[in-house]
Symmetry: C2
């Protein structure tokens, strides 16, 4: 599959205030993607997208990421059932991160360990405490 | 300054369920950090931390990041006044991302462009629309 082409912003005003989606993928071709629960607002996970994952997310309305460990496009929920219906997709000022508001399918969670959110541990006095 | 040393988790159970903070910095020594507003829950920004930034955040209760453009430790708000008081700090399942709940000082915003959140643009039909 040919990688989808996104344009490059010509200057800072276009990057920061323009209406053209011009994601700044890093040297590995990735941008950070944070997914929050569309109703609770909870941060569910932080993952990565390459151009193909972003294009697939935009085309289907379901979250696609790039797995760094598997080096492959990854439709969230393909095996777990935790498909993420995207209700809103935002990009940040310098277009190197996206924020997805999602409705998780399946058991309603997002984390492979079994918690609802991947962020199930609070750092307290230097130690980690599990707390949903 | 000597870089603070964090331990490495010996195995996956320790990494995912352990009580020891063992962040997995990438080959550049960074982990992703997402900051949300402690009261509204809004995602304010996505930035990066090296070991020194994470240690400074833990030690002071104020958010410190690593500026990739300036390649330097960066106390958020040092020049803008938008100091971020951390009310809760979480780490994800594979310990390569942190979630900070923060109370922003100064004008209450987090974005250098002037918006409250860096994510002030929604992607709609392939184009970017500014919407707070």
């Amino acid at each position: 599959m040919t990688a989808p082409a996104f344009p490059t912003a010509p200057d800072t005003p276009a990057l920061e205030r323009g209406a053209v989606l011009a994601p700044r993928f890093d040297e590995k071709g990735l941008i950070a993607a944070v997914a929050t629960h569309a109703t609770s607002g909870e941060v569910l996970m932080l993952a990565w997208m390459d151009a193909a994952a972003l294009a697939a997310t935009l085309a289907t309305g379901e979250a696609h990421y790039f797995s760094r460990s598997r080096q492959a496009l990854w439709k969230k929920g393909e095996t777990s059932g935790q498909v993420q219906q995207v209700t809103e997709l935002r990009i940040d000022c310098d277009q190197d991160a996206v924020w997805l508001k999602v409705l998780p399918g399946g058991d309603g969670g997002a984390c492979h360990v079994g918690f609802r959110s991947c962020f199930y541990r609070v750092i307290e006095n230097g130690a980690l405490v599990e707390r949903e």
